[in-house]
């Protein structure tokens, strides 16, 4: 399992894709961060006069994490799309299948590699708000709740991407399908009213965490999403093995 994870991580970093994506992400987020910060500095004198006004955490960090979740949603499928598709099309999946490794371990190994890469992305994102600590005080509780939310969202993106990658030989199709589902989960609450759809929306859950509200229901939602996607992947691979 660890061997698969290390090999995958290595392959990801050997291709320019991971580096390119990290650079693009960093550029976009840094721009958003600076814009938010500038806006905050402009209105800061007026805010100081209002008692109970939102501070730097609420006005800079939370919007940043909010957009980071969307930007990363666009990038993660590009990282996960090759996980299985490339193994299928390169014929290397037979090597894994003929090795004494169970299907569960293959999937977990792949997911672990993806998680490690996502952890790097998460850390890079977290560094930006943390850099504010040099000059000011932050609401650390709210920040850590937000970062926890971002981490959970990334884990869910990765698991969904992994599942779609196991469905097809073509990485691009896997990426598009992952976008489809993730975007749908973001906007599914637009219809409003119906409670079931509201329950399914990523955005609502994520915003709870950004507001500093850590509930087991929200955390459970993300973990359930990860677990479902991984179980479906394992099932799908076992199925594929039977049909050829």
């Amino acid at each position: 399992m660890l061997a698969i994870a290390l090999k995958d991580l290595r392959s990801l970093f050997l291709s320019p894709l991971a580096w390119g994506l990290m650079a693009v992400m960093q550029l976009l987020l840094a721009w958003l961060f600076l814009v938010q910060l500038e806006g905050f500095l402009e209105i800061q004198p007026r805010l100081a006069a209002i008692p109970g006004a939102p501070g730097v955490t609420g006005l800079v960090v939370v919007p940043l994490l909010d957009s980071a979740a969307v930007v990363l949603m666009l990038l993660v499928p590009l990282l996960s799309m090759g996980a299985f598709s490339r193994e299928y099309s390169g014929g290397t999946f037979e090597l894994l299948l003929s090795s004494p490794v169970s299907m569960t371990r293959i999937v977990l190994g792949k997911y672990l590699a993806l998680l490690l890469l996502l952890a790097i992305l998460w850390l890079l994102t977290a560094l930006m708000p943390l850099s504010l600590l040099l000059g000011t005080a932050l609401d650390l509780g709210r920040l850590s709740a937000g970062l926890l939310g971002l981490g959970l969202a990334l884990a869910a993106y990765g698991a969904v991407g992994l599942f779609f990658s196991s469905l097809t030989r073509q990485p691009a199709v896997a990426a598009i399908a992952s976008y489809g589902l993730l975007l749908l989960l973001w906007i599914i609450d637009l219809s409003g009213g119906q409670t079931l759809l509201q329950q399914l929306a990523i955005g609502i859950r994520y915003r709870h965490l950004l507001d500093g509200l850590v509930t087991s229901a929200d955390i459970g939602y993300f973990l359930l999403l990860v677990l479902t996607a991984l179980l479906l992947t394992i099932r799908r691979l076992n199925d594929r093995c039977g049909r050829g």
Binding site: L2, A3, I4, K7, R10, S11, L14, S15, G90, G91, T92, F93, E94, L95, L96, L97, S98, S99, P100, V101, S102, C241, G242, R243, G244
Partner: protein
Amino acid sequence: MNLLLEIKNIHHWYGDFHAVDGVSLSLDRGQVLGLLGPNGAGKSTTMRILCGALAATGGSIRLQGLEMARHPLATRRLLGYLPETPPLYANLTVDEYLLFCARLRRVGRHQRGSAMSRAKSRCGLERTGRRLIGNLSKGYQQRVGIAQAIIHEPALVVLDEPTSGLDPNQIREIRDLIRDLGNDHGVLLSTHILPEVEMVCDRVCIMNQGKLVFSESLGQLQQAAAGLLIRLQQPPDIESLAELPGVSAVDALGNRRFRLTLAADADNGVIAERIIRHGWILDELIPQQLALEQTFVRLTSGSAAA
């Protein structure tokens, strides 16, 4: 004998297509078995089932007495598999790739180094360790594929067309390697190249349309289906030729030539002696072996037309 692999009555369906139809095989340790057949005969499917890359629709496979369906991990540890297209990662170097395979196949931490250098020297890869697999020629990639299959010293090595894409020298080296592997491992290989089978294999199985139509040791094959081509200066009528001991059929080929089809207990020396004693004056006597190729064509083209 030391039974290594026993396949009993396996089936596989791709949708409506019956790709493997009740194949049974067995293989002893130290044997090289050649699996032949036209394209689409089900060879690769059989091999994929054997290696766990595909689940059989029915039937059972036992490797060293272990039932494959019940002990998937334990049996996979005993085999090394080279698929039709070698399963290589183009962006890794040969060393990185072989190390990955060794870890994947559960080679112990301390044996990995020696396992890698042994596999590399067997496949002639000593000097390519640091090169990227994607930059190697097809022949070398094929060698890396074979190295991958033998790195963990499996009891059974399954090679799907191991010599495709190699130059004649490399083919000879790989054949030597296969024969060498056959000394202490069981080897199952599929190929289109019939002389290759005659050179390296102990046993031949021929598949056609998903069925096993022929399974014989190579020695038996060469003995069994023999014939004689003769030319006589004063030929008698065909009936008297057919009365010669051990002759089961006679074909006149014109120009005083005849082909004698022989029964299993025929003796060429006795036949020659009778011909001379009858005074038919023997000009030529050419022993003919019904070579593998003829067997192959007879078994596979007939049913393809049907």
